[in-house]
């Protein structure tokens, strides 16, 4: 009486029966993304973990960087396995890795071990991030062929929301269980692993894949909708040999690089540019996180109406125009204009993540879109590491050159315009995928 994992977790076990309501799938996807999105809120553990482990904050931050790099690598390496195994098995694997990583981080506090933190949260947790990121997205794309942008926007909005939930939850738990020299980080990490386990397993139980050939009732694919939208299938091994894949890689990398700097520097930026207090600067970061989350759903849904290429043109052109406005807003002391511009910029930063799976589905079909998405996510890892270094480096060099702090960000804003310009060119070069890359037969 051997236990067969495939019987419960395999793709066949998750195939939906006739009459299944597809609107049950988004909560499953959001639940998983909401948990793994906690990585964005890891910074709340920086000081407590540095204190507990007796190391510096930058040493603790290495765990976050490793996690993001592992997110991209694991999504790229395990993408085909994810497509083969189905979303439930992948979500369970993601749960084991991500919550296991949180528990190992708690143990790292117990044994005051930095390597355990880096290996646990960074490597193991990072693998959980990669697996948990792509599986729900590719599943939703298959359930919502009529509105793929809205579908991927919902899941990836959950990832953005993960930071909104993860940060106050961690702070609340540390406040409740910390006492004296004990920061409460160990208990907080352990309890978060338990809480997130509930949500991730809920997602794994609820998720379903559509039966082969399933279509929404009454929906007929529009042949003439756009030349970029294909009904053909391109495998992951062929997709990443196409110029379209690498153009989208540049599109994502530039879009992320241009937004991630502002997100990380938000609080300091407002303080230095407008002379506001740290509390108000923190409020600015809070405002941006809401727009980061909301933009994922709103803009991605808009892309269903405009088409993916057009909406990315909007992100890049409008984004560059808004960045170019920021120095003027600072010089005239117009804080409201500054807030509006940055909020819109961040909404499009989040939207870039949310719209890319739908763009991939348009170009390569749904056949192995999860695996292709996984390989494309390496652009995010690259941008997450390079973007902030580039931005911090430029800002530091301007300050060192004697430029007043309030004006030192201006060079950064113009650099962002250049990055967005590169992204725009890459996006404009995207053409339909040649028939030579398409699969002849797909199971």
């Amino acid at each position: 009486m051997g236990f067969s994992a495939d019987r419960w977790l395999g793709r066949a076990a998750t195939e939906a029966r006739a009459g299944f309501n597809r609107w049950l799938v988004p909560p499953a996807a959001i639940a998983v993304h909401m948990c793994i999105g906690q990585v964005y809120a890891f910074s709340v553990f920086n000081k407590p973990l540095a204190t507990e482990l007796g190391v510096t904050v930058p040493q603790v931050q290495v765990a976050y960087s490793i996690a993001l790099v592992m997110l991209g690598l694991s999504a790229a390496v395990f993408g085909k396995w994810v497509e083969r195994s189905g979303p439930r098995k992948t979500m369970v694997a993601s749960w084991l890795c991500f919550c296991g990583g949180l528990l190992l981080a708690a143990l790292a506090v117990r044994f005051q071990s930095l390597p355990l933190l880096l290996g646990g949260y960074g490597v193991l947790g990072g693998i959980g991030l990669g697996l948990g990121y792509i599986a729900p997205v590719s599943t939703l794309v298959k359930w919502f062929p009529d509105r793929p942008g809205m579908a991927t926007g919902m899941a990836i909005m959950g990832f953005g929301g993960g930071a909104l939930v993860g940060a106050p939850l961690a702070l609340e738990l540390m406040k409740r269980f910390g006492e004296g020299a004990d920061t409460g980080a160990q208990v907080a990490l352990t309890l978060m692993a338990a809480i997130y386990s509930g949500f991730m397993l809920f997602g794994a139980v609820m998720v379903r894949v559509p039966a082969a050939g399933w279509k929404p009732a009454g929906w007929v694919p529009k042949e003439s909708e756009s030349k970029l939208v294909t009904t053909a299938s391109v495998s992951v091994d062929r997709a990443w040999r196409t110029p379209q894949f690498w153009l989208l890689w540049v599109v994502l990398c530039m879009n992320v690089s241009a937004g991630i700097g502002v997100l990380g520097l938000a609080s300091d930026m407002l303080q230095n540019m407008f002379g506001v207090s740290a509390v108000v600067g923190g409020g600015f970061a809070g405002l941006l996180s809401i727009f980061n989350m909301g933009g994922r759903f709103v803009w991605s849904s808009v892309s269903d109406l405009t088409g993916r290429k057009a909406v990315y043109c909007i992100y890049f052109v409008l984004g560059a125009a808004l960045y170019a406005t920021l120095p003027w807003a600072q010089q005239t002391g117009n804080r409201t204009l500054f807030l509006v511009c940055t909020a819109l910029i961040i909404s499009m930063y989040g939207a870039g993540f949310a719209t890319i799976p739908a763009y991939l589905r348009d170009l390569f079909g749904t056949y192995q879109v999860g695996a292709i998405h996984g390989r494309l996510i390496t652009a995010w890892s690259m941008a997450a590491v390079i973007g902030p270094s580039l931005i911090n480096g430029l800002y530091a060099s301007r300050v060192a050159a004697g430029v007043p702090k309030a004006e030192a960000y201006n060079g950064t804003f113009y650099l962002m315009c250049v990055l967005l310009g590169i992204g725009l060119v890459a996006n404009l070069l995207v053409r339909p995928v040649s028939a030579e890359y398409q699969e002849k037969t797909v199971n």
Partner: protein, 41 residues
């Protein structure tokens, strides 16, 4: 029964996300208070 499961599923994710948004709005509220800049330093 199906509708109940659907509603409960959405509530399961909407409640924590709503709490997270509410926490962020609370955090962002000092941005919109008309306190003179000089007194904030």
């Amino acid at each position: 029964m199906r509708v109940t499961i659907l509603i409960l599923s959405w509530l399961a994710v909407a409640l924590p996300l709503g709490w997270g948004v509410q926490q962020s709005v609370r955090k962002a509220s000092p941005l919109f208070e008309s306190v003179p800049v000089a007194t904030q330093r």
